[in-house]
Subunit: 424 residues, 2 copies
């Protein structure tokens, strides 16, 4: 069964906000077996709202809109839907009581605008919004459903979970939508595709393959729509098992267990600690780790040594190294990694130094040149990667390379540790 | 003049990614006076892509698509457009040379899939993609334009800046789109609307007012489409000045003069340098600065001192301070700021230490408690802010508070410097 999502608001059309609601709603609909066939965003304009909902209803069984339900004049979704369904606005005592209570709790006077929020189209089923003052609405016509939700993300999310999904499940007979994503690292998209061409060719027709490239990573997603869920999930497992035989060394995990998340778990499980010395990645590697709850168990410190003086004074990089080889060099990367490991006492340390651009490149060391080093008690290794041409891209890719390099060394260290402990 | 944006890819429809491209494109089109009247997202499906582009062309003069230009089988935008425009794919020697060079740089073999990327529809103008292997394409029909861009955000952004915007400006006679947003704090949306009702009523008809509520904040946006830009910008200034007389105590600023960008410019102009000592913000402040080209002129170093040992050994925080007041305290924040300033030799330093959660909170210091300190040659000041309940939110808010605090001190320092120099 198909659904369409229409997000309403001038702020979306002018790019003042990024529309995150549509992605959330799509994910949730997929979990109950509803396929999202199209999404649209329109302005706070009655003719446009009506036209886009009518067009979507012509193609799909469910239309979910968000936005345009606030108390002020620029919000017109409710009156537009009321007209579209040939209804009229009536007071809903339960909603009014709820709005009054919310206003009182916040010490705000209940005024005419709030009174307007308690008015709902007579023909709809009200979806009670426990977290806000704008109620959701459920309309039906010719067996099809139009659902209007507020645009405030957390209010919308609660209404989806508490009201919309349960009602859709009981209203329609739904099949399943299945997605699984495998993460590969180290093979460019075109090389990966060439390597797995025969496997791709032999996929059952109901499985749709997608390549999702990002810095140093290509995710492979298999999707099936409106199928018998468990059977298809098992088939996808079988297909991914076949891929394991073809490209074992490039598979680093499955959706949502990213390289970094795996490393996070590995470090915690093995009681290993890390430190980071960054130049061109500028604090980005540290920020990636510290964004994860529990990082304080293993992340001791990061030093963003942008200035040469900081590389020398804090990390102990030798002046002669900087002079002889330059800040962007294997030797500097090595001394940075060893330096941050020494001052932090971490088991493992990684360092980056490169040219993020847009200026600073030379013929010998163009923008995008990045040196990496990883140090532990057994020694230090270094590598160079050309990480792109755009400042943001270079920082992101270099961050991904550094985390992958750290991850491999952490795995080796964890294995060695286990070996030692087993042999004790 | 109107444009529509169509983002293409199953990953958008299933909610696997949040579509940030559409917001970026909309913003950029607005800057050159093009109004985005509608946005849509469709799957990697030829019939759907063709239908949605044809519908958009029926309503608007420009259609911009992103996505579906990769080398693998799931990407079909290029072949679909070729058929739609009744053209055929031909080799573009310049694109082929570029793709070969990019592959060689990354040490990747040039294969049939890459060869396919160098094939372009004969009827289009190729938009050279210096940062990726998929070229952009510009099609014309009956005076209308269809532009196809890659979905990789940074490639799309460079193509918009370097190719699309200049060509659109020379191709169409464009008027202006003007948006200005005032930020208010402390008045609920319904109360604010009641307070400024007379002002709203008296707005000139070509100015459209929008209310954008978020926790504790309501942003008021005035927009005008296809107008004479400078005249309208002056009129908006006049209208906002009137609001200043009505609700002076609730106006906290304007959007898009980002505090951080202003600080970046101010530091460069005044030759001031900074350093950062982070605990709970975990490298995020450093990453914000180093993301901006030219930050190396003033950003000397950042230390993410997560472990107490790092606070002591690198930043010189006293063990007795940590013991007596704890890591999350005014005293620790002060010593961190002073420490990083001392070891870096920066003019200004900022420090953060707090509880990002989800664990680690106490009754006295709940999750979200963050201490900030700023140090310069004249001394050190500190403040505490409760920065939210969610780890990501706490990190983001604390980063914003720290940058704001740094910014105020930098402004004072720059003013003092100017005063001194003037009196020399």
């Amino acid at each position: 069964m198909n659904a369409e999502i229409i997000t309403i608001g001038d702020e979306i059309l002018i790019g003042q906000i990024v529309d995150t609601n549509a992605a959330y709603i799509a994910q949730k609909l997929n979990t109950i077996g509803i396929v999202v066939s199209e999404r649209a965003s329109v302005g706070d304009d009655a003719a446009q709202i009506t036209r886009s909902i009518e067009q979507a209803l012509g193609r799909s069984s469910v239309v979910i809109t968000t936005g345009g339900l606030g108390p002020t004049k620029d919000d017109i979704t409710k009156t537009t839907l009321t007209r579209m369904f040939g209804s009229r606005l009536v007071n809903d005592p339960k909603v009014e009581e709820h709005v009054r209570r919310m206003m009182a709790q916040r010490g705000i006077e209940f005024n005419d605008l709030n009174r307007g929020q308690a008015m709902v189209p007579e023909c709809c089923t009200v979806l009670f919004n426990a977290h806000g003052t704008a109620p959701g609405m459920w309309f039906e016509r010719d067996g099809k459903v139009v659902i209007s939700l507020p645009g405030v993300p957390f209010e919308m999310r609660h209404l989806m979970e508490d009201e919309v999904l349960p009602r859709l499940k009981s209203h329609f007979a739904l099949r399943a939508v299945v997605h699984r994503t495998m993460i590969t690292a180290g093979l460019a998209e075109s090389m990966l595709a060439a390597r797995i061409a025969n496997w791709e060719e032999a996929l059952p027709p109901y499985l749709k393959l997608a390549y999702l490239p990002s810095p140093n990573i290509v995710r492979l997603r298999l999707s099936a729509y409106e199928v018998e869920g468990e059977t298809v999930a098992r088939e996808i497992d079988r297909q991914f098992q076949k891929l394991h035989d073809i490209i074992p060394e490039y598979i680093v995990g499955y959706e949502n267990d990213s390289v970094q998340h795996n490393l996070h778990e590995m470090l915690r499980e093995n009681g290993l600690t890390i430190a980071v010395a960054e130049s061109c990645t500028g604090g980005n590697i540290a920020a990636k780790f510290t964004a994860m709850a529990g990082a304080s168990a293993y992340f001791l410190c990061g030093v963003t040594a942008y200035a040469n003086s900081a590389k020398m004074d804090i990390l102990g990089v030798k002046a002669s190294t900087l002079e002889k080889y330059g800040a962007v060099s294997e030797e500097t990367a090595r001394e940075m990694a060893e330096g941050v490991r020494r001052i932090s006492g971490a088991d493992l340390a990684v360092a980056t130094t490169g040219i993020a651009g847009p200026t600073g490149g030379t013929a010998e060391k163009p923008v995008g040149t990045v040196w990496f080093a990883v140090a532990d008690a057994t020694g230090t290794t270094a590598m160079m990667r050309n990480s792109g041409t755009d400042r943001g891209q270079i920082i992101d890719r270099a961050t991904a390379y550094a985390i992958e390099m750290l991850s491999k060394r952490a795995a080796a260290l964890a294995a060695a540790k286990e070996h030692t402990e087993t042999n004790k």
